[in-house]
């Protein structure tokens, strides 16, 4: 028995002696990070973390305490019991079949432990030579085990994945790329994107066209654009009264071709490479409330149809939890944070008639802009469907080719327009995104007004 499993027994016994009901979530995680600066691995960081969260129900109230000190079981239980005296009321457990039929975790490909990180970092650094740009970045290998226990159940799940974050720096551009994969290989999309960036680096500075023009959004910008809607569909925003869409579920909002669905990665064949770097996005069998994670359609044919919930937000809204209650997120469980609704595999899609390759989308733009990333777009997320901020990196498109690097400027995009009446198409390939929420986003083309 591992030291943590042994400790869980102690906590369970102590909690059972002092509370009517109890739940434990414990996380063990090992991270190894190699930082790459100017093509050379220049720093290694490693972290081992074991942390435990205990929730007790006592006299109709809930008390919660977390700790990294697993040797002080009595202190942990005492804190939780004390908090219950002044804690929120306990809601009846609404979840029939919690922990029913957990999905089997994907088996990660074997690797060489922490040496795999070094190998990947060297390959990332080597892209500096092939792309002709200065390459910085980090490669992270994470192993995570999550233990859940309650009086009538106990489960353990584990996962392992690599995160690759790269920044290609030229004389005029700084182009980021990020992905998650289960195999210690660099995704093909990364080198392809860096090659494109190298071709754009020498382009002249330019202003956006003054009149009507097309807008091609890269996955990072699509993520920013969608964040207000994703946040407004979050059960936390709904219960806080700050969701602009909560009272309008079932009403048309986006183009009827568009759908948004939270679901796990498609299982890959054993020898298939993870070309896009999306295969490492996590999809646990159950959330941190113990509710099974199941695919959920959020937007169907342009219509927001449902919010996503933790047990707590679902109870507050009088609806069923959807398996989205996580401490941190599925990629990085943080026991010290409260369980809140989180999307871990949101995917934007469009009808088959509105899908093309990135090259096709670009070739179809006579005059327009390619928006790689936006700054400040998350600031009012959930309050308004308008994303206002500043263009961080963008390019001028003329006659189907990238022709200049846009000067920084303020920008405001209304997602009801860009993904509504101006929507034209999405790319057939998607990249991983993760900030506030995680998923796979395509390039999106919106036409002129």
């Amino acid at each position: 028995m591992s030291p943590l499993a042994d400790r869980l027994d102690h906590v369970a016994a102590e909690a059972a002696a002092r509370a009517g009901h109890w739940e434990i979530l414990a996380v063990e995680r090992d991270d190894t990070v190699v930082e790459v600066g100017s093509g050379v691995p220049d720093l290694v960081r490693s972290a081992h973390e074991t942390a435990l969260c205990l929730r007790v129900h006592l006299h109709g109230r809930v008390g919660t305490a977390t700790t990294t000190r697993l040797d002080d079981v009595r202190g942990l239980v005492g804190e939780a019991v004390r908090n219950a005296a002044h804690g929120p009321p306990a809601s009846p457990d609404p979840v029939a079949g919690r922990n029913a039929a957990l999905l089997a975790a994907e088996r990660p490909a074997p690797d060489q432990g922490t040496r795999s990180v070094r190998l990947l970092a060297e390959r990332l650094g080597a892209l500096q030579r092939s792309a002709g740009l200065t390459v910085h970045g980090t490669v992270t290998r994470t192993e995570q085990a999550v233990h859940r226990a309650a009086p009538d159940r106990r489960t353990t799940t584990s996962d392992r994945f690599f995160h690759i974050a790269a920044l290609a720096e030229g004389t005029a551009v700084q182009l980021p790329w990020t992905g998650w994969t289960r195999t210690p290989e660099l995704p093909a999309a990364l080198s392809a994107w860096l090659e494109a960036a190298a071709g754009w680096d020498g382009l002249p500075a330019a202003d956006a066209p003054s009149g009507d023009h097309d807008v091609l959004l890269a996955p990072s910008a699509v993520h920013t654009l969608l964040t207000p809607l994703v946040t407004a569909l979050n059960g936390t925003a709904v219960t806080a009264g700050r969701s602009f869409v909560a009272g309008h579920l079932g009403e048309p909002f986006l183009h009827p071709s568009i759908g948004l669905r939270d679901h796990p990665s498609e299982p890959a064949a054993p020898d298939d490479p993870d070309d896009e770097g999306t295969g490492g996005l996590a999809w646990p069998g159950s959330d941190d409330d113990g509710v099974p994670c199941a695919p959920l359609t959020l937007v169907e044919r342009g219509v927001p149809v449902r919010a996503y919930h933790s047990v707590r937000t679902a109870a507050a809204c009088g609806t069923a939890p959807t398996g989205h209650g996580f401490r941190g997120n599925a990629l990085r469980r943080t026991v010290l944070k409260p369980a809140t609704p989180v999307l871990n595999g949101a995917t934007l899609s469009a009808g088959s008639a509105d899908v093309g390759s990135f090259d096709d989308l670009l070739a179809g733009v006579r005059e327009g802009v390619l928006v790689e990333s936006l700054m400040g777009g998350h600031q009012r997320a959930g309050l308004s469907p308008v994303v206002e901020g500043r263009l961080r990196l963008g390019f001028l498109i003329r006659d189907g080719r990238v022709a200049g690097i846009l000067r920084q400027r303020p920008i405001a995009l209304d997602l009801r327009e860009v993904l509504g009446r101006r929507f034209r198409a999405v790319s057939d390939r998607r990249w991983a995104v993760s900030r506030i929420w995680s998923g796979r986003m395509p390039f999106v083309l919106a036409g002129g007004t």
Binding site: V44, A240, R312
Partner: protein, 459 residues
């Protein structure tokens, strides 16, 4: 008392070379989080977060390791092993002035001396008052956090220091239904552990409700260029996000254009503009008398009379790279992170203008108060003020909504033409984020500023 008793044996045993540097940091933190959302109290959580970390910097490589276990030996050995086996680039550190002063600063009403029941009653009353204040209110969020961390740092050079860090924040946000969007009003308070800053906030909650409710009928601001008068809290965060982050020395490494932009002697702003990063004062969130490399903090005057003076805030590594002195800015969020050059308390020196003079000199502009959000990428900035009123012909008029201020970081200093005579020195719940270390406590001291011709967009 240091956990090791200051014994150098720990460092000898891992086989460091004579010129290798190693340090161990041990941290014991306790946190209380209280959240009200929906109809009432959502969660009451206490956390005990303890662990240690080690950093090795030497000829064979550099590495950082952390662990929630409190035994520093294995963590130091792991860092030493990784530095060699993973073969990363070597590093070096500048000599520094170790912190010696361990006099505790005075703090008003220590948060940990106030019982949980009293906190729940006081803060819960704010939430209930916000919900009951007006039928247009759709919800309210009250988020309270307090933490106390005891840190011990010891190094292979023989440095051994221990220090206590306290932090306290309260954010109250009130939401109202503004049709296609939600409107918001907020109360933001913070301190270095003094609970008294969250007492007596009833009038502030009422003002937040009035802001959220009034904004429903307020016109959306017309995009364009405006003269903007910022209050102290907004001016302080603007200084933090612009010159403050630009001055963090790790950003200067390999960035010749930035080094030229902030070359000493270059004029950035008007002659009455002086900005300093300061170790702060006891009881404030940005009080950092000693940094996480054990360096004693000292003020760094970034701009004097509008001219760049000392453009870099250092940790020992960046100080070595630039052959300058460490400034006491090496800060780590907790034991899970290595220290980085970070801001402490950014201070804009007061000027000579009264509020009436600043507003009276504006024909078409905005009076902006507080911050709902803000971001910079070191080239540009965007800010969402918490509240904006129109100024016409020197008179403050009604609220406008949707205001987003943006501009070039370096260009904005030249836009300042008046500085208020009273320097605001409160704390808010706004914290600093950098390279995954988000939520670092900081302070700002700032008077009102008037900026001419700031770009405003609407959202």
């Amino acid at each position: 008392m240091l956990l090791t008793g200051g014994s150098p044996a720990l460092f000898r045993d891992v086989g460091l070379r004579a010129d290798d540097y190693a340090e161990v940091r041990v941290e014991r933190a306790r946190t209380v989080d209280l959240v009200w959302r929906g109809d009432g109290l959502e969660s009451s959580v206490t956390s005990r977060d303890e662990g240690c970390c080690a950093r090795v910097i030497g000829r064979s490589g550099s590495a950082f390791a952390s662990d929630t276990a409190m035994d520093a030996g294995p963590v130091l050995r792991r860092a030493a092993r990784d530095a060699v086996e993973l073969g990363c680039a070597a590093g070096r550190l500048a000599a520094h002035r170790p912190y010696r002063d361990d006099r505790p600063g005075e703090i008003g009403e220590l948060a940990e001396t106030v019982g949980l029941a009293e906190k729940v009653e006081l803060l819960g009353a704010y939430h209930a008052a916000a919900l009951a204040a007006h039928t247009g209110v759709t919800g309210a969020l009250v988020y309270y956090r307090e933490s106390v961390a005891d840190v011990e740092l010891f190094t292979s050079e023989g440095t051994g220091v221990s220090y206590r860090r306290r932090d306290l924040t309260l954010q109250i946000t009130v939401y109202a239904d503004g049709g296609a969007a939600r409107t918001a009003g907020s109360v933001s308070a913070g301190s270095g552990g003094d609970f008294s800053v969250v007492r007596g906030l009833g009038p502030d909650v009422e003002a937040a409700v009035a802001t959220a409710v009034d904004l429903r009928a307020a016109p959306v601001v017309a995009p364009g260029e405006y003269d903007v008068v910022c209050d102290g809290p907004l001016a302080g965060i603007w200084a933090h996000e612009t010159i403050g982050h630009l001055a963090e020395a790790d950003h200067h490494l390999g960035d010749a254009p930035l080094q030229r932009s902030l070359a000493p002697g270059r004029r950035l702003g008007p002659s009455m503009l002086t900005i300093t990063d300061h170790p702060g004062r006891p009881g404030a969130r940005g009080f950092v008398p000693v940094d996480d490399e054990g360096t004693a903090g000292s003020p760094v005057e970034l701009l004097r009379d509008g001219v760049v003076t000392r453009p870099r805030l250092h940790d020992r590594s960046t100080a070595a790279a630039f052959r300058e002195d460490p400034t006491g800015n090496a800060r780590a969020l907790n034991f899970r992170h290595p220290p980085l050059p970070r801001l402490r308390t950014i201070a804009i020196a007061p000027g000579a203008a009264s509020e009436e003079e600043m507003i009276g000199g504006v024909a078409r502009g905005l009076l902006a108060r507080g911050v709902l959000g803000g971001q910079t990428d070191r080239a540009g900035f965007t800010f969402l003020p918490a509240e904006c009123r129109e100024i016409r012909d020197g008179e403050v008029r009604g609220r406008v909504r949707g205001v987003v201020l943006s501009g070039d970081v370096l260009g904005a200093f030249a836009a300042i033409d008046a500085i208020g005579r009273e320097q605001w020195r409160g704390d808010t719940s706004a914290s600093c984020g950098k390279q995954g270390q988000n939520g670092l406590p900081v302070s700002s001291w700032a008077p009102m500023l008037r900026l001419r011709g700031i770009r405003v967009t609407s959202g």
